[in-house]
């Protein structure tokens, strides 16, 4: 692509249209850009467009965005997907030009474009920096010095953010010599300029923060300091660099200043001003936290001052309802100190009590934001409150501080907390309406400070802060039993959370007594409360007693079952809870456990189908949808197990919906729909009803197979059809359609495995007479693929297929049909594929199948039994004994395999398997119990026919270990080879 007027016009037009609100021109523009992007120098031209001042700003902005995404996709193409060409679209010279243009361009751009270009630069540097981009850092440094001299803080900030993003890798990679070399290079070039700009900005702040300064002048200075701190963090993360050790005092002096000084002219200039100062303070806290954790010896001279500073800062911050980020990092710092060798800072009289009162409890106490979140965004509230995503909330982090102090002062902490909890509870009792938050605080402390543990496969908790059962009886039960389901919803949520967390500690009779209350709480309008109630019931079913037996069974819920199901479906009707995954998960669990009488089945299937019809219109929450399909399939499975005649009811109810899914192209649900259909087919007796036939036709349409996420489910459905209705396949040319599908799948390494499933299903379920005519075609396809690209996975699948063919249709058919494609190919395949790769087979069923097939080849196939083929015979046996005698991990080396389908379909809906619609893998060789036994018995038989012949081959062809292994097999099964 060339830079000229025409290109500029074309691209400008496209970029403008990508912003269009109407879909048609937008799609058109996107596809034009996509094809334009295949041309060389596309990225360069787009970058020049971004730089072109005559072009409208919103076009340049769109171009910058596109440039960044293009680089992300194409700068280096180290794809694991072999179907994508590995050559980059951006060639060397284009890359060099981009690299030389981007820094000055970024610095001269307006902020929004600058951000995009800065990210693009980070993409490049991720691959190229520093080795293939030696000019970057010197350029940044000289630009930084220029910008600093001119006090041009827009540029300073641009440069520092870029440096910040390219140095981030030092924060999480393992320490290797290569990484250290990169770090050393960055330090040599950047450590000193960083300190320079940091000190210069510090001076400007000192000067400006007085009465003369305005918020507007201070703002960029603080942002610049914050970025310096973040870079400090990256550069210091791995080790304390010499330069930073030598200049520790300069850094620490400023750090301390920011923690202890107030900057009213900025802080009081609206909330935003305070946020900017706090962000710098939080960055400082992260840095001193790093030092106290990793370099406590060099840092210890500063420790006391900082601990005091952070402490008194927290005194203010804890009282204020915003300032979360700062509160969290500051508390983290104290937590690190509490577990370090300097924990004695907390040993002083009354220190822990003071921390509890002035830091922990104020931060744990509910604040307005929490209440708002509880009401407005229950999903996020639950994620933080219940699911451990609260690592970065003040409530959680305050508890962490206590846990930290408890590592050295456990008794002390427990004693203080117990008293505090009692105080909070008495305050509540004195005036529940006014002080309900005290009770919430008490419950939160108990739950958060409990130790997480697993009981019966799910996480629960234990604590030594309180006696669980008496706390439960005195504090929790009253909330659960409160008849007004809408009063104090947050306390109810807390009580339900407590019940859920400590469910294994609560005796069964107590818990059962409360189940009706929990069922009633499902009708609370508060989304959190009915979600927690559902979750509580769901988790109760997972409780296991010693010995792994479920504590609660169908009998236990029978009395409330109808009410329970009714309330669960009611909960799904509350606003915002239409797709409540906790409720749906509970439905799934109940249907999996409860006694499914007709009275339950009918409303359940009706309820689930109507929910499904609703979500089909616009699938949003994949987790909810997954549980929905699981619920349907568990219901179908268990109800039909109990009463097989129900299948027609299910078909009648589900077919219209499934058809809607297929005809309305609800692609997200295709994999589920196919699995459900497969389940229904499985549950039918042959012949399957005619109503399935249209679906069979759909199944054979090639389009569906194009989407890789569909393939496993389609295979599953195809298998079900073939097993139930093999003859249907033989009609109207369907078999050749199926084989066409096989052909298509086999061609690509990412779907070859599915191709073999199709093929194996055909081979396994059809008579040889039906498939004989197609065998040449099948072998031809397989050998072509083998010739083109021979991967380990393919070879293994091929071996398994040949084995299956052999055990189903005999070795003679195998040899004849293969050799029909090309004379002598059977022996060639045997020698080059079968023998060397046999030992790579894994999986119990697969090992048994290939071992039995190999044994039969050895003992019944004339081509191998021929005296002239003794060499093959010996090698085959050698491989076979390796397969059978050595454990899997010794035989198979870690091989670079193509990732399976589930991993490399990032852009389309991934295949999710339904547990309840699944099918146990069937052993095609049920009559053979033990492959080793089969081997020695067969060998014994054949050696009796040719006495003296095989022991000699064995001693020549098998390696010593395998000879003794074979000998051992013979001993085990009391067989003798003659």
């Amino acid at each position: 692509m060339e830079w000229n007027q025409e290109t500029v016009q074309f691209l400008s037009h496209c970029f403008l249209n990508t912003l269009s609100p109407s879909p048609a021109p937008r799609r058109q523009a996107e596809s034009s850009l996509a094809s334009a992007s295949e041309q060389p120098n596309y990225a360069l031209v787009v970058l020049r467009l971004v730089a072109e001042p005559s072009v409208d700003e919103q076009i340049r902005m769109a171009a910058a965005l596109n440039f960044k995404n293009h680089l992300r996709l194409w700068w280096t193409r180290s794809s694991t997907d072999p179907s994508v060409p590995t050559d980059s679209r951006i060639q060397g010279p284009e890359k060099e030009q981009i690299k030389s243009l981007i820094v000055p361009l970024m610095l001269s751009s307006a902020t929004r474009i600058q951000n995009q270009l800065s990210e693009a630069l980070a993409v490049i540097s991720k691959h190229d920096f520093p080795k293939s981009w030696p000019q970057l850092l010197p350029d940044l440094v000289s630009s930084l010095q220029k910008a600093s001299a001119a006090s041009d803080y827009v540029s300073v900030i641009g440069i520092l953010s870029t440096a910040n993003s390219i140095f981030k890798k030092f924060r999480y990679q393992y320490k290797t010599n290569d990484l250290l070399l990169d770090l050393k290079y960055c330090l040599d070039n950047f450590a000193s300029p960083l300190l320079e700009i940091f000190l210069k900005t510090a001076q400007l702040i000192d000067y400006t923060s007085g009465p003369v300064g305005t918020a507007e002048t201070l703002r960029p200075l603080f942002e610049s300091q914050r970025l310096c701190c973040r870079i400090f963090y990256s550069l210091n993360f791995i080790d304390l660099p010499e330069f930073f050790e030598d200049h520790m005092r300069e850094w620490m002096t400023e750090f301390q200043k920011y923690l202890t000084t107030c900057y009213p002219s900025l802080e009081k200039s609206g909330t935003n001003g305070l946020i900017i100062v706090d962000e710098l303070r939080a960055a400082v806290c992260e840095n001193i936290n790093l030092y106290v954790e990793k370099n406590e010896e060099e840092f210890q001279g500063y420790l006391h001052t900082f601990a005091t500073a952070v402490w008194s800062l927290l005194g203010d911050v804890s009282q204020s309802s915003s300032r979360d980020r700062l509160a969290i990092t500051a508390i983290k710092f104290l937590t690190t100190v509490s577990t370090s060798v300097h924990h004695t800072l907390f040993a002083g009289d009354g220190v822990i009590l003071q921390i509890c009162q002035s830091i922990v409890i104020p931060n744990v106490r509910l604040r307005e934001e929490d209440e708002e979140l509880f009401e407005m965004n229950y999903v996020e509230f639950i994620r933080r409150d219940m699911e451990g995503s609260d690592l970065d909330t003040r409530r959680r982090i305050a508890c962490e501080l206590f846990k930290g102090i408890a590592t050295n002062y456990k008794a002390h902490v427990t004693a203080i907390l117990s008293v505090q909890i009692q105080n909070l509870l008495s305050s509540f009792t004195a005036n529940p309406a006014a002080n309900w938050k005290d009770k919430d605080c008490a419950i939160y402390l108990v739950v958060s400070l409990a130790t997480k543990r697993t009981a019966g496969g799910s996480v629960s908790a234990s604590t030594d802060l309180i006696d669980v059962n008496s706390f439960f009886a005195t504090v929790i039960v009253s909330e659960l039993q409160n008849q007004n389901v809408s009063e104090f919803p947050m306390l109810k949520a807390g009580a339900l959370k407590f019940f859920t967390m400590f469910r294994s500690h609560i005796p069964k009779d107590v818990a059962l007594g409360l189940v009706p209350d929990v069922v009633r709480l499902l009708t609370s309008e508060s989304n959190v409360v009915h979600s927690y109630a559902a979750s509580c019931i769901e988790k109760l079913f997972l409780v296991k007693d010693e010995g792994g037996k479920a504590r609660y069974t169908s009998k236990d819920i029978d009395p409330v079952l109808l009410m329970l199901m009714n309330n669960l479906f009611t909960a799904l009707r509350y606003s915002e809870s239409e797709e409540n995954q906790y409720v749906m998960k509970c439905i799934m669990r109940v249907l999996a456990v409860a006694d499914l009488s007709q009275g339950v089945v009918a409303p359940s299937i009706a309820g689930l189908t109507s929910v499904l019809n609703e979500v089909c219109k616009n699938p949003k929450n994949p987790v909810f949808n997954h549980y929905l399909f699981e619920s349907i399939s568990v219901l179908v499975r268990r109800a039909c197990e109990r009463d097989a005649s129900l299948i027609s009811t299910f078909e009648a109810t589900l077919f219209p919906t499934l058809q809607t899914i297929l005809s309305n192209d609800v692609t997200e649900f295709f994999p589920y729909a196919f699995q459900l259909l497969a389940q229904l087919v499985d549950l039918n007796r042959s012949p399957i009803p005619a109503s399935y036939m249209p679906i069979f036709e759909i199944l054979l349409s090639a389009d569906l197979w194009n989407r890789s996420s569909n393939v496993p489910a389609l295979v599953r459905l195809l298998q079900a059809f073939l097993q139930k209705a093999p003859h249907e396949l033989n009609r109207e040319g369907r078999l050749s359609l199926v084989l066409g599908i096989f052909n298509r799948l086999i061609a690509s390494p990412s779907t070859e495995e599915q191709g073999f499933y199709v093929l194996n299903t055909v081979i396994e379920n059809l008579e040889y007479s039906v498939i004989a005519n197609y065998m040449s075609h099948i072998w031809h396809a397989l050998f072509t693929r083998l010739h083109k690209k021979q991967t380990v996975k393919f070879v293994k699948s091929l071996l398994i297929f040949m084995s299956l063919f052999l055990v189903k249709h005999g070795s003679e058919n195998l040899v004849i049909s293969m050799n029909a494609v090309q004379t002598g190919i059977f022996v060639m395949i045997l020698e080059q594929i079968w023998i060397p790769n046999l030992k790579l087979i894994t999986g119990t069923i697969e090992v048994k199948l290939t071992a039995v097939a190999s044994t039969r080849l050895l003992c019944e196939c004339p081509d191998i039994l021929d005296v002239a083929a003794a060499r093959h015979w010996g090698k085959m046996l050698d491989s076979l004994v390796t397969l059978l005698s050595q454990p899997e991990e010794d035989r198979v080396e870690g091989e670079p395999e193509v990732p399976d389908i589930a991993e490399n379909v990032a852009y389309t809906a991934a295949f999710v398997s339904l547990q309840n619609a699944g099918k146990k893998e069937e052993d095609p060789l049920k009559d053979v119990r033990d492959a080793k036994e089969f081997l020695v018995a067969s060998l014994t038989r054949i050696s009796a026919l040719y006495p003296g012949r095989f022991p000699q081959i064995i001693s020549e062809a098998l390696d010593a270990a395998n000879q003794s292994a074979l000998f051992q097999f013979c001993n085990t099964y009391k067989c003798v080879l003659v």
Binding site: K175, I238, E245, T451, K452, S458, L542, V593, Q915
Partner: protein, 523 residues
């Protein structure tokens, strides 16, 4: 860690969970930290008092105090006039020219040796280097050579750019450390070269290509007072890599090994310290040197030094050398440190001494050496397990500063697994694991999981995997729970380090995963 500059193996415990502690570790070859801050001013040294009495310095005493107190600006003015004077002296051809030069050199040298902040920059700006190079020309009087080399020594002791200014002088400095030079001249030149070598890799490479190694090595051979010490120090700077070539060349030079052994045996602490630093780099970089040192019983000598000395300056390089020898060559651990042999017990004894030391560097290095011994055979693991070191290690794991805890954790982890051949999964030594866990070490490892350091976290996760997999009666998960290990692992749920994230998530899924529970409960 900030104080290693030698490439000890630090590639421990394999990356995937299940392959736990089993390999010896050298430390990273690249370091960004302050170099050996435990030994002050090692890399470059300032020369205040001359190397020999050959210089008549009587007339120095009057201005001795004066110079120190002088204002910087005055000092600078004097330096620039001293260089001017030297320039005139060098240009002067008449009678007494040599004496004139010497006295100008003396003046400059005094200015460069006395003050805490010598006026090097001014001297360089005034053009001192070419003049000093001229004063080093062949056939000059020793006194003149000595004064010029002394000036250069102190210029080289300055800032990086100032050290680099010596580049034009290097060939002559190297020429004057040859055997034809007098000892004081050779030593002063060696000193200057040592400072240059201490500056950086590129300068070391230049010195090596100009042939500095052989004459410096020869200076270490005879026992001639401070010459040997200066030469050993300069050598230790010259061979410190990161390229290993110089170290291997040095050990190949005839007589060097013998001299090292002799000094290590007989020398006073001060000289032994310098020699020990040479061994540190030899053993860190060169496999050949490591093998030769081990074969010649250097381990025994190091152990004796560790046992008898209390000089921290000496103990640090000696302990580091011992560690490198143990880490570098598997034969050492297998053939030399045979459990039951006297030498093995002595090694453990001196390591215990260092673990007990007040000084953290010694503790840390001792734990590191132990971790490498613990990577040996099952017998080695048993030896440490039943030694006096174990209670110390357990205590350090819960109470020591972070970097020591990490080293200790490597040792304890290594004690619990059998050595692996190839890429297999190591087997557990259940007895050791159970005993360590019963002594409460799990909480120490979980503390490491919580740390922000990626390697420490990996180590903690690997040990946790051992506990989960290996504790009898499936007790592992319960123990991990009790120590709040689930919570510790959950931190990695979205960690940016793929390895750690997969490891932690894998463990949570495998041992604490919430099962669907459908199969069992449906019946």
């Amino acid at each position: 860690m900030t104080d290693e500059s030698s490439p000890h193996r630090r590639d421990p415990i394999k990356s995937s969970v299940g392959n736990a502690a089993a390999e010896r570790r050298r430390q990273n070859a690249v370091s960004v930290g302050k170099e050996r801050r435990e030994s002050l001013m090692r890399a470059k040294r300032f020369c205040r008092v001359g190397v020999s009495t050959a210089i008549d310095d009587n007339d120095d005493s009057p201005d001795h105090d004066m110079v120190i107190d002088e204002e910087e600006s005055i000092l600078e003015a004097q330096a620039s006039s001293a260089v001017e004077e030297l320039k005139a002296a060098v240009a002067f051809q008449g009678k007494g020219a040599v004496q004139k030069k010497i006295s100008a050199l003396q003046k400059l040298r005094r200015l460069l040796s006395r003050s805490e902040f010598p006026p090097v920059e001014v001297a360089l700006k005034a053009g001192a280097i070419p003049l000093l190079v001229q004063c080093l020309s062949f056939g000059s009087l020793d006194e003149q050579l000595l004064e010029a080399a002394w000036c250069l020594t102190n210029i080289a002791a300055g800032k990086p750019d100032e050290t680099r200014a010596l580049l034009p002088a290097l060939p002559l400095l190297i020429a004057h450390i040859g055997e034809k030079s007098s000892l004081p001249v050779a030593e002063q030149c060696a000193w200057a070269l040592g400072n240059v070598a201490g500056e950086g890799e590129d300068l070391r490479n230049i010195l090596l290509s100009q042939g500095a190694l052989l004459p410096l090595a020869r200076m270490m051979l005879p026992i001639k007072g401070s010459t040997v010490r200066t030469a050993a120090w300069a050598l230790s700077n010259l061979i410190k890599g990161p390229d290993q070539k110089a170290a291997t060349e040095l050990i190949k030079i005839n007589g060097v090994l013998k001299a090292i052994i002799q000094h290590l045996k007989n020398a006073d602490d001060e000289l032994a310290t310098e020699v020990a630093w040479v061994i540190v780099y030899l053993s860190a970089l060169s496999n050949m040197a490591t093998i030769m040192l081990v074969k010649n019983n250097v381990v025994q000598l190091l152990v004796e030094r560790l046992a008898s000395s209390n000089s921290l300056q000496l103990l640090i390089p000696v302990l580091r050398s011992l560690g490198n020898l143990v880490a570098g060559d598997s034969c050492t651990t297998y053939d030399l440190l045979v459990p039951g042999h006297e030498i093995t017990d002595s090694v453990i004894t001196v390591l215990v001494k260092c673990l007990k030391s007040e000084h953290r560097v010694l503790k840390k290095e001792a734990a590191w050496v132990l971790s490498n011994i613990a990577a040996g055979s099952v017998e080695h693991k048993q030896l440490i397990f039943s030694s006096e070191a174990l209670p110390l290690l357990l205590h350090l794991l819960s109470s020591a500063p972070f970097d020591i805890r990490k080293e200790v954790a490597y040792t304890l982890g290594n004690i619990c697994v059998e050595p692996v051949e190839g890429d297999g999964r190591p087997k557990l030594i259940v007895e050791h694991l159970v005993s360590l866990v019963n002594h409460g070490c799990l909480s120490g490892f979980i503390e490491l999981i919580r740390s922000i350091d990626a390697e420490a976290a990996r180590l903690g996760l690997q040990f946790m995997e051992l506990v989960l997999r290996g504790m009898p009666n499936g007790e592992g998960p319960k123990l991990v729970e009790q120590e709040d290990g689930i919570d510790a692992m959950e931190r990695f749920q979205f960690h940016e380090n793929d390895d750690l994230r997969n490891m932690a998530n894998g463990l949570v899924d495998k041992y604490f995963g919430e099962d669907y529970g459908l199969e069992e409960s449906s019946s």
